[in-house]
Symmetry: C2
Amino acid sequence: MAYQLLDGRAVAAQMNAEMADQVARLCAQGKRPPHLAAILVGHNAPSEAYVDAKVRACEKIGFLSTLIRYEDDVPQRQLLDKINELNHDSTIDGFIVQLPLPPHFSTDKVIEAIDYRKDVDGFHPVNVGRLALGLPCFRSATPAGILELLRRYRIPTQGKHCVVLGRSNIVGKPIANLMLQKDYPGDCSVTVCHSRSQNLHEICLSADILIVSLGVPNFVRHDMVKQGAVVIDVGITRLPNPDRPNGFQLTGDVLFDDVATHCSFITPVPGGVGPMTIASLMNNTLLARTKAVYP
Amino acid sequence: MAYQLLDGRAVAAQMNAEMADQVARLCAQGKRPPHLAAILVGHNAPSEAYVDAKVRACEKIGFLSTLIRYEDDVPQRQLLDKINELNHDSTIDGFIVQLPLPPHFSTDKVIEAIDYRKDVDGFHPVNVGRLALGLPCFRSATPAGILELLRRYRIPTQGKHCVVLGRSNIVGKPIANLMLQKDYPGDCSVTVCHSRSQNLHEICLSADILIVSLGVPNFVRHDMVKQGAVVIDVGITRLPNPDRPNGFQLTGDVLFDDVATHCSFITPVPGGVGPMTIASLMNNTLLARTKAVYP
């Protein structure tokens, strides 16, 4: 069957162009452009790459960005002091703490220290709770990016069965809560499955929309996908590949070549959910700048 | 097939006895018993009955209780001032605002005005968010009561398929988020369905645990229930019945006589989830008194 690619790179570029326009308008009014700060602790290679991509996205759109780096052994107290400083810095609209943090940190405490009105990652309990309640909030960037992708491709969702594989706090749970809301995209029956699920294949086979966020490369095969399904692959694992210049290759949770012919729409990896995540973080930062979520 | 009744009245009585013991121990140490306040606006008959049942539960267990009543036309400002007063009253451990409120209120604003550390109904965004994140919180009373019922009957849940009918903020969404956590009871695959769901019958038929919270009397029939399923009926609608002394009869969302023989376990209405809800509110109040959730 012919499938259509959900081209996250193209949609993200379109979003970026729209945001660049808005920034230009802000500046024409003599206003400061949006300003995102990122805190990076240590030298985890994927984290370095993500933060770098976020800083480059800011530059491309015309946002200001500030990168704050600490070594692995920075005391939690020092990080919390910096968060407190950013909370009170009126020149910073939003900021993120790149995860994962080294093991001596309490990630929960660090996230809760962020003023939820500047929590453009949408990880603070207030934003998580407001998302579940259907209230205005900063929506976590990956789920927000998935929604935007579905919206721009006008994929019907109402009443459909959306199956989410994975129950992480930053992808699985929030996308499930979003797809359940009485909104477009959304208004689905939503099932969340995970490593403990019985009848996983059977449940996946009943999905009209399958969102996979397990972090298990090539987990989903054609025998788990209904003909005509929409498949969103959030997985992005670095598998060693000596033929590549950087020695690895980004691999999704869906075995693309095996699954694609079963799908009506499918995201590639890379170039699907990844660019949408960064564009959504930028969008949250713009919303923070214009106080569109929290006046 | 023989089914077993999930006797919420009996389990709630057991919980109440345990809580009464704890209160007696607190008092023996010279400490004040837990103190719950309830705000009731107007004269909605079911609300009156619920608040009355909560006050009586307090008396039975040895909690202090305070009922604050307003007429329908009380200005929102006055209600918010009272909430602020209760937030700062150290003799009140927790309080609730009985819902629904009359139409001129913003329910969201009223709930957000409650200090989340006294929000024993678990409706504040901080508690909703922490519940989704798997962090300690006040869990909304009906979902917490359902979990306790499953726990006391030692019903296996790990890896099972739990289907929730209804996506309300106070039952459907929180019970779905709880049944998904890596805990007992929980660790299920969880599906949430609602009025817009396609293939509702088919999805219900795949449920090992079916939790029904639609508010549609007798909606679930035997052809929607798998042999051996566990059925939890949250529905409690007042249907007119001239043969009853008060002129109505409480009716669940499950047609009990039609469905029970398909079940391994089933809750009756009344006497199932209802008493568990009140016992769970009491439990939250005790947790507030002992600062077990928020130190």
